[in-house]
């Protein structure tokens, strides 16, 4: 495992350097092409107007110097574009990304099984830190991992995934995402994306220049003697401008696909159960829903390309993910669970090598473990609970055994149980008895820059917990549902809607 990770790291650095060099070359050529035309025109007009003056005898070397300056300007432009994008990369705006996808961060109590599975994969991979876990409420099953630094790393799953997969399959998917984090794929693909983006922007600039500014050059070049050399530079520049981005894209997507295979191999190595991931991928690709919020920019992050998941995929050099059928086939052809076994299965299925025999010299075969005997999928109720809590539902328990979820905004104070007809009261924060000393002292902390919340005028509210070992919900005086987790131990809670402070006893 360690050799694979080390060799991965070396190749990544090499690739970033190659792409940076490509960027600089394209920048230089672009600069030559664009600014050569302007510089030459300027030189020519100087010569033209030097009638009565001393003629500028150095036009030849002058134009050469201007040509070099043009190239340097182009390189400078390329570096500026790259710096801007790198700046964005270093801002670590993962929570902005998550917010944009309507992902909610989960706490351990929300979904113990999911957290347990993530913990298991963290241990099996030796990751060293536990990423945050986010949930997206979308029926399409998918998952992704983000994070440049350990502190901001996160794994996100959709509810569609949690509904469909059993424990082994979920472990396989989380293993795949943990593999991405362990192999630092996120950093790598983002940097490669920065390089690619800069190359594309530069090529767009050059093409725009050709489209709008071409006439200037043709006039000046026809006036001059060595139109041949200029034409060559022109053609080369145009070729770079068109082919450069295409080649960079091919490189980028080839890397993306290779990384996906490596993450599959990592998952098999960590879980020791490749069939888990294989059947998870099968279920994901069989689901006929596409993710509602994914775009071309975010698509490469997911475990299966969300834009083509529903309609089937083309195996082109521009796809960010390898075809799922191939991935499943290789996983199912594995006779063991290590990287060496994945490599062997790859060779049988596709020929060539993924990881390289040099790297795998000291890797050993690992046996596949037995599947866990979980039985039918148990986690659906847990997932329903998480989703309902996400949407602010209140959970009431009737004595007949039924659990009732009451949405926020339910106006009445009582609800009738559907099974037994018993009438249940909606727990609400009640005004504290006047002799109680715990009530009124709750003055919300003043946070500079934020207006202090309105404090309830007549006597503070309080809520008495009946069962401190499980989730409890009650209604604030403003109508907002407040949910208390079993881990909640503070004496007060502040309603997020109206700012009232409610004592919890």
């Amino acid at each position: 495992m360690w050799e694979v990770i080390a060799s991965n790291r070396r190749r990544s650095i090499l690739l970033i350097i190659v792409m940076a060099v490509m960027l600089v070359i394209i920048g230089y050529v672009a600069g030559e092409v664009m600014f050569w035309g302007i510089a030459h025109h300027r030189v020519l007009s100087r010569h033209h107007y030097s009638y009565g003056y001393q003629s500028y005898g150095q036009t030849d070397s002058g134009s050469a110097a201007d040509v070099d300056a043009g190239g340097m300007i182009g390189v400078g432009l390329a570096l500026v574009i790259m710096s801007v994008m790198l700046f964005v990369y270093f801002t670590d705006a993962e929570d902005v990304l998550m917010h944009g996808m309507s992902a909610r961060e989960l706490k351990r109590d929300d979904s113990p099984q999911l957290f347990n599975i993530v913990d298991e994969m963290v241990l099996a991979s030796g990751l060293g830190f536990t990423p945050k876990i986010y949930l997206i409420d979308d029926p399409a099953p998918n998952a992704f991992a983000v994070g440049r630094k350990p502190e901001t790393s996160a794994i996100c799953v959709t509810t569609g995934l949690l509904y469909r997969l059993n424990r082994d399959e979920l472990q396989g998917v989380i293993g795949h995402e943990t593999g991405h984090l362990k192999n630092r794929d996120v950093q790598f693909m983002t940097l490669a994306g920065v390089m690619l983006g800069s190359i594309i922007i530069l090529s767009v600039i050059v093409r725009q220049y050709f489209w709008y500014g071409g006439r200037v050059r043709t006039r000046s070049s026809s006036r001059d003697g060595d139109g041949g050399a200029q034409a060559i530079i022109l053609v080369v520049g145009l070729l770079f401008a068109i082919l450069g981005p295409i080649m960079a894209q091919i490189l980028y997507f080839a890397c993306s696909r290779k990384r996906e295979f490596l993450a599959d191999a990592s998952s098999a190595q960590f879980t020791r159960y490749p069939e888990g991931l294989a059947s998870a991928l099968e279920k994901i690709s069989a689901a006929h829903e596409s993710l509602s919020f994914a775009s071309d920019a975010t698509a490469p992050m997911f475990i299966v390309n969300p834009l083509t998941a529903a309609t089937g995929e083309a195996d082109s050099i521009f796809s960010s993910h390898p075809p799922t059928a191939d991935r499943i086939r290789i996983l199912r052809a594995m006779t063991g669970a290590s990287f060496a076994d994945y490599e062997a299965a790859w060779r049988r299925a596709k020929g060539g090598s993924l990881i390289g025999s040099q790297t795998l010299q000291s890797a050993q075969q690992q046996t596949i473990r037995a599947p866990s005997n979980e039985g039918p999928i148990q986690s659906r109720r847990e997932t329903h609970d998480v989703v309902r809590r996400y949407h602010g539902y209140m959970r009431l328990h009737c004595n007949c055994g039924l659990d009732i979820s009451v949405p926020e905004g339910y106006e009445q104070d009582t609800i009738r149980c559907f099974r037994c007809g018993n009438v249940l009261t909606i727990p609400a924060a009640a005004p504290a008895p006047p002799t109680s000393s715990t009530a009124a002292s709750a003055i919300p902390p003043v946070i500079p820059g934020i207006a202090p919340p309105v404090v309830a005028p007549a006597g503070a509210l309080q809520f008495h917990r009946t069962n401190a070992n499980s989730w409890e919900s009650f209604r604030c005086a403003c109508g907002r549902t407040i949910q208390l987790s079993p881990a909640f131990a503070a004496p007060h809670i502040t309603c997020t809607a109206c700012g009232r402070s409610i004592a919890i006893t």
Binding site: M1, W2, E3, P112, Q113, N116, I117, D119, E120, M121, L123, A124, S125, G126, R167, F270, R272, S362, Q364, S372, Q378, S470
Partner: protein
């Protein structure tokens, strides 16, 4: 002439620097691996302790529903107490195996009680225990993988010099060694 000597000196200095960098890099790599190893070993301990702490809770939950299974429950409690008090590594490995067997029989018994199976507490505890077993095996797996890589590096040609110079030693795999410990523990009903 002077230029020639200068060039040779420069090349030599360059070589020394490269050699030094390689030594430092290899040493650091070995240190990192060893720390990972020790961390993985500590993790195994953490998970074992977690299992010990979960068991009384489980027994209380089951007691309410499976009133006639006091024998099995007592076996579980005994196995747990023995595992907590075991001292040497061999004793601990054996005690943990006995405990695993006792838990398996307890969960098998619980299958016969549908009320118990539907109880939220029991399900949560079952999930926690399954997860703890998994974590034990994953941390053991990671430890063994790392031990193998570490030992290999200690013995392979260029790095064995560094290893010898700085006295890195082989670590052992975490596995049950004595043949009698490999026998499945027999749990009587």
């Amino acid at each position: 002439m002077i230029f020639g000597i200068g060039l040779i000196a420069l090349v030599l200095v360059g070589l020394v620097v490269i050699l030094f960098a390689w030594i430092a890099g290899t040493y650091n790599g070995l240190i990192r691996l060893r720390n990972q190893l020790e961390n993985a070993w500590a993790q195994i301990d953490v998970q074992l302790k977690r299992r010990h702490d979960l068991i009384p809770n489980l027994v209380e939950t089951v007691k309410g529903y499976a009133k006639h299974e006091s024998g099995t429950l007592e076996k579980v409690i005994q196995a747990r107490n023995m595992a907590v008090s075991a001292k040497s590594v061999g004793e601990r490995a054996e005690a943990e195996n006995v405990l695993t067997g006792a838990l398996k029989s307890l969960f098998a018994v619980a299958e016969a009680y549908p009320d118990l199976k539907a109880n939220q507490n029991f399900l949560a505890l079952q999930e926690e225990l399954t997860s703890t077993e998994n974590k034990i095996s994953f941390s053991r797996q990671f430890y063994n993988d790392t031990v193998m890589t570490f030992n290999t590096r200690l013995e392979v040609f260029p790095t064995n010099f560094i290893a010898g110079m700085f006295h890195f030693t082989r670590h052992d795999f975490f596995e049950v060694k004595a043949p009698e410990e490999r026998e499945a523990p027999k749990v009587q009903f």
